[in-house]
């Protein structure tokens, strides 16, 4: 079976700077794959290219054999590859439930005009959105805060809200942007379980970009390591732990890591 997501020779240059150089790897269906690397390794640039938030300089990203790089972001989302953001990127003045309802935009059956006139399909959509939002929030354990304004939520909940918004679009692949950043150990472990259950119970393939080594080791099926814009290793957590290049890269920039 061909891989779900393929990153093929992707390169990104900003002026003279090369953020990513000739990176290739695959993501298989139902897998949790993490991309790690020290600061400035080019993780977030790669992440943005996969979700088409920035264009590639060369190379391409394929989803089920279809190119999804260098499109408009919403086109990628429509194909089923959806990214999340770090906590500051939320719908500030919507409640949790409202956010999750809006995020189901892609699943709407009625047209915009249909909604305007209040057609029957639109009515059904609205009902189903509400039901699904409640179900999703229950699944994520967020029912208690569903009527809170997003701007009033604490950090940990914001991350969960981000994932809820992403899941509400009914994605095939969910791209998580540093889901564990700034969390303490307990919160991280809870998030690890949550991400697992997203994959296990909802059949969503997960790719994440992360700093937190222990969490990544725990959650990932496979890991891709970047350093200075290059891919230096790929493999299972145990393979990566014993990879000399990886150890060197991390030791070399140990100060930065502590600085985080």
């Amino acid at each position: 079976m061909s891989p779900l997501l393929q990153v093929k020779n992707v390169t990104k240059k900003y002026g003279g700077l090369t953020a990513n150089n000739d990176i290739s790897f695959d993501v298989s269906e139902n897998e949790i794959l993490s991309v790690i690397g020290p600061n400035g390794a080019g993780k977030s640039t790669l992440f943005k290219m996969i979700s088409s938030f920035v264009p590639t300089t060369s190379g391409e990203v394929l989803y089920r054999g279809e190119r999804i790089s260098n499109l408009k972001p919403h086109m990628v989302a429509r194909k089923g590859v959806v990214r999340t953001f770090q906590e500051t990127t939320i719908f500030k003045s919507m409640t949790v439930r409202e956010s999750v309802v809006v995020a189901q935009h892609l699943r709407a059956k009625a047209s915009l005009a249909g909604y305007f006139w209040g057609s029957k399909t639109a009515q059904q959509d609205v009902d189903s959105f509400g039901r699904y939002a409640d179900e999703l929030l229950a699944f994520l354990g967020m029912t208690a805060i569903s009527d809170e304004l997003a701007s009033n939520l604490p950090q940990g909940n914001l991350r969960a809200l981000g994932i809820a918004i992403g899941l509400a679009t009914d994605p095939k692949v969910l791209l998580l942007d540093e889901p564990f950043a700034g969390m303490n150990h307990d919160e991280t472990m809870r998030m690890v379980d949550l991400v697992r259950s997203v994959r296990d119970e909802r059949g969503v393939t997960v790719m994440l970009v992360e700093h937190d080594m222990p969490a990544v080791m725990k959650i990932s099926d496979r890991i891709v390591v970047l350093n200075f814009g290059e891919k230096i290793a790929e493999g299972t957590p145990s393979e990566i732990q014993n990879n000399e290049k990886v150890i060197e890269a991390y030791l070399g920039s140990a100060d930065d890591e502590i600085g985080m």
């Binding site: 979700s51 938030f53 408009k72 972001p73 919403h74 989302a77 429509r78 959806v82 990214r83 999340t84 953001f85 990127t89 939320i90 719908f91 500030k92 003045s93 919507m94 409202e98 309802v101 809006v102 995020a103 935009h105 892609l106 709407a108 009625a110 915009l112 909604y115 305007f116 006139w117 209040g118 639109a122 009515q123 959509d125 918004i165 992403g166 509400a168 679009t169």
Partner: protein, 326 residues
């Protein structure tokens, strides 16, 4: 249509009763016939302001509505005077043409945000005025004058709309027309904001990146909204041209664009009916202060400053619920 509570229905009914029955009775009783024009102006300016409000809803400060009102006024005037169209046909045409201009213009400029979008629309207002001065079809500096009043419309011999030139009280006719248009505009706006499109706009207003990550085609919605908003501007402008029976390059200028924006701010950006109230207060307020002679502007500006100082989120922020009445 959907989930309008009894309270809402009552509110709407009272509102309609006031503007269509209450105001005419009040005017007849007090003899203040000049209120007809003032209120007609308020209704028309409120239509244009509704458009500005809508662009706020996708997070853009629009100081270009004067340009679209001018476009609308000219399109209608040219169609009526030079092509002999009925005013009632030229009215939607004016709105559509303004919407078309907005779509073409919006393609490059809607990528901008904040003051950048505000400034470019402000410059566009200047461009519209200067274009009207330079083009032959607009008659340049001389403007288009002697525009006939709206003609009648009849279907199968039944008069649907009387000829404004022949009826006794054209001001009243214009008042009713403007009010009907305003009611339609705000009903549309209300539905828009409370339907899915409105939710998507709100999501864009708050975070365009996140909106596009959940599959919202932000480019399309921005242009759609900007076109709708300019459609309102075009309609408002065309009606004004018809009332004054003349259009000049200076009929709508930068000051009007700024005024439309202020109407929205004053009423409150968070409320659908904010621009309507804002227009009423700003326009009517000026007229009421007429009695103060040369201190009119002074008093007017002081009141404005006091309001914004103590109600920075607009007049409607006194009420805490969201969404306006209806």
């Amino acid at each position: 249509m959907m989930n309008l509570s009894a309270k809402h229905v009552l509110g709407v009914a009272i509102f309609l009763l006031v503007i269509f029955v209450g105001v005419p009775l009040f005017i007849a009783a007090t003899g203040r016939w000049d209120f007809y024009f003032t209120l007609t102006s308020v209704a028309l300016l409120a239509i244009a302001s509704a458009g500005v409000w809508l662009t706020f809803y996708i997070g853009r400060i629009n100081i270009g509505q004067g340009a679209f009102a001018l476009v609308g006024a000219y399109v209608s005037a040219i169609l009526v005077v030079k092509a002999g169209w009925s005013f009632w046909l030229s009215l939607p045409a004016a709105g559509l043409f303004a919407a078309l201009v907005a779509a073409l213009l919006g393609l490059p400029i809607l990528r901008l945000r904040g003051v950048y979008f505000a400034m470019i629309t402000l410059v566009f207002t200047q461009v519209a005025t200067l274009t009207a001065l330079a083009l032959p079809i607009t008659n340049g500096a001389k403007g288009i004058t002697n525009i006939p009043l709206p003609s009648g419309v009849s279907l199968f011999g039944i008069t649907l709309i009387p000829d404004f030139g022949e009826i006794e009280n054209a001001r009243m006719a214009f008042y009713f027309t403007a009010c009907i248009l305003m009611v339609i505009t705000y009903a549309t706006l209300y539905r828009l904001v409370n339907s899915r499109l409105g939710h998507l706009c709100r999501s864009m207003q708050q975070n365009e990146e996140l909106a596009s990550s959940i599959g919202v085609n932000i480019t399309y919605i921005r242009i759609l909204i900007f076109s709708i908003s300019s459609f309102f501007g075009g309609i408002g402008g065309a009606m004004f041209g018809s009332i004054s029976q003349s259009v000049y390059p200076a009929t709508f200028v930068v000051k009007d664009s700024v005024d439309f924006m202020l109407n929205c701010f004053l009423g409150g950006l968070g409320y659908v009916f904010g621009p309507m109230l804002g227009t009423l207060v700003i326009y009517f307020g000026w007229d009421l202060l007429f009695e103060f002679g040369k201190y009119q502007l002074l008093i007017y500006s002081i009141i404005l400053i006091v309001v914004i100082r103590f109600l920075p989120d607009g007049l409607l922020s006194i009420r805490f619920s969201k969404g306006g009445k209806k």
